[in-house]
Amino acid sequence: MAVEELLAARGLRIYYHTMTGVVKAVDGVDLKIHRGETVGLLGESGCGKSTLGLSILRLLPSPPAKITGEVLLEGVNLATLSPDEMRKVRGRQVTMIFQDPATYLNPVLKIKDQMAEMLGPQISGKDTNVEIGRSLDMVGLRRSVMASYPHQLSGGMKQRVLIAMAIMSNPLLMIADEPTTALDVTIQAQILNLLEEIIRKTGISVLLVTHDWVVVSKIAQKVYVMYAGKMVEHGETRSVYERPLHPYTNGLMNCVLDVNRKIARVPSIEGYPPNLANPPSGCRFHPRCKMAIDKCRTEEPPWIEAENGRFVACWRVT
């Protein structure tokens, strides 16, 4: 039996109209998440991964953002929903956690009151406490946290509160935008273990937006790699790690330093990421690519299934 498709983005384009021109933050990408899957969206700063994550919930102000293409959640095109209907998707069916937990908690409300907002007004006070207590248990926080203000909690605890809020409504999908980037390494390990446990227990689907390959490798079964507003590679995390097809993915993998092994020269990719207001012609990676041929400079490589379940956009692979 085929696993059900939960979220699908098709030909998604997000252009920002700015004073200096049109910035093509996301330029024609396809993405699929099946029920119960954790999918990594890997890319460097400015590649459009956060824009893509935000656009799913229609959280981008438009203008300046101009969105074309479609995002389907359980077959429903989210662009066609009214603002009221969209509000029922946000926080209910699809939730989101962010990089800096301090920014997303209200500093003047107690944790309990903020979490109660997730439940809505129709629930009684007693039930609210039970529900909140249960969510706090799930994320390994003491119930006394309910009476605290955000500033009384550490960064790791705040991220746990946000995760608790994001799973309270039993959503179909959680979008996690760099959930561990702002945290210390020992706390990052705690939060990743927690996410892993929650995914296992609740069967929630997760879109994990990150720049960090090791975070993807820890919890995501599948991964999409983005570069300069385009998808460059997709496949099972294991298979991408063992044999990256796209030169960018390959280069990026080489840049991951292993603490257990020392190499003389730290690897990097020559050059710098392009300006998305004026991206290079052809393949957007060609100015930094060691394998580039003439065709790469003029023609854009198509997004094709190179092998079973392995997608790539590169002329050298096709």
Partner: protein, 324 residues
């Protein structure tokens, strides 16, 4: 006897807390750095590794002379290096900051930014050759293309090269690099790390490399020091450290460093440290790490002596009662 370029002895830096009126009350302090001693050799890279709030950046700023220490001494080539003593010229010690966008003045061109050190310290403008040489040293070629641009026209990696150029402009012998790559993308990180390495060899620089990332520390440093809550808990030669790590905190840091291999990450059930770093206003007595330490025993308890840095093997220092 080894000739140390920099000696730090019992360094403390306390920040006063402003908690309103103090009528007869005592003042509270954030003990950011609470008794740190280490040396830096000529031409070596010493990494100072720790989590946020452990005092590593404060240590760097005091050592470079940006802050006055609350207690303790810093000697530079044997001379008292505190800013008040004024015996060591500023240009000998420079700093590379974490966020190049914040470190560069957005309203000055790259030329102006690089000219600043010359004007401030040497009271003259940089010559054309000096400027071109500097740009070439940090790999910003052709120089003419970059010199008259503003910071916002450059990418993060290019800006960090400019910040490095500022630091080495006056040929210092000691540079504090404070998380120089943590705001950069992975594909750019290697460029800047290799640049620092190359400059270090070329000018026989000593670098105090501040980072939270042990994998980066392993690749750049000759020696590694681990800080926790204002104290150094372990200090050793890099290879010695990574093969024979001793302090439970250092072991936990190493354990938390994920591997690139998805298989390895899923198979190993690593146990992250429980809890959070305690407040540096009232650090725990006894061993500061005891509340989170998986190996803590009676000797580490409240009211007991704080563990001192002890040499376990030649050059390998650890501050831990349990390791002893």
């Amino acid at each position: 006897m080894t000739e140390w370029l920099l000696e730090v002895r019992g360094l403390k830096k306390y920040y006063p807390l402003s908690t309103g009126l103090h009528i007869g009350g005592h003042r509270e302090f954030v003990k950011a750095v609470d008794g740190v001693s280490f040396n830096v050799r000529e031409g070596e890279v010493l990494s100072l590794v720790g989590e946020s709030g452990c005092g590593k950046t404060t240590t760097g700023k005091v050592v470079v002379g940006l802050y006055e220490p609350s207690e303790g001494n810093i000697f530079f080539r044997g001379e008292d290096a505190s800013p008040l003593a004024g015996r060591v010229p500023r240009r000998e010690r420079q700093m590379v900051f974490q966020d190049p966008t914040a470190a560069l003045n957005p309203r000055k061109t790259i030329f102006d930014s690089l000219n600043r050190p010359f004007r401030a310290q040497l009271k003259r403008d940089a010559s054309n050759e000096e400027m071109h040489q500097l740009m070439e040293d940090v790999g910003l070629v052709p120089p003419e293309y970059f010199l008259h641009k503003y910071p916002h026209e450059l990418s993060g990696g290019q800006k960090q090269r400019v910040v490095v150029a500022q630091a080495i402009a006056l040929k210092p012998s000691f540079v504090v690099a404070d998380e120089p790559v943590s705001s950069l993308d992975l594909s750019i990180r290697g460029q800047i790390l290799n640049l620092l390495k190359d400059l270090q060899r070329k000018f026989n620089l000593s670098i105090l490399f501040i980072t939270h990332d042990l994998a980066v520390a392993r690749h750049v440093s000759d020696r590694v020091a681990i800080m926790y809550l204002g104290k150094i808990v372990e200090l050793a030669d890099s290879e010695e450290f990574f093969t024979n790590v001793m302090h439970p905190y250092a072991q936990a840091l190493l354990g938390a460093a994920l591997k690139a291999d998805p298989k390895a990450n899923r198979m190993t059930e690593y146990k992250p440290l429980v809890g959070d770093v305690p407040s540096p206003i009232n650090p725990p007595s006894g061993c500061r790490f005891r509340a989170r330490c998986p190996a803590a025993g009676v000797k580490c308890n409240k009211g007991e002596l704080e563990p001192e840095l002890v040499e376990f093997r030649p050059g390998h220092y650890v501050a831990c009662h349990i390791c002893a």
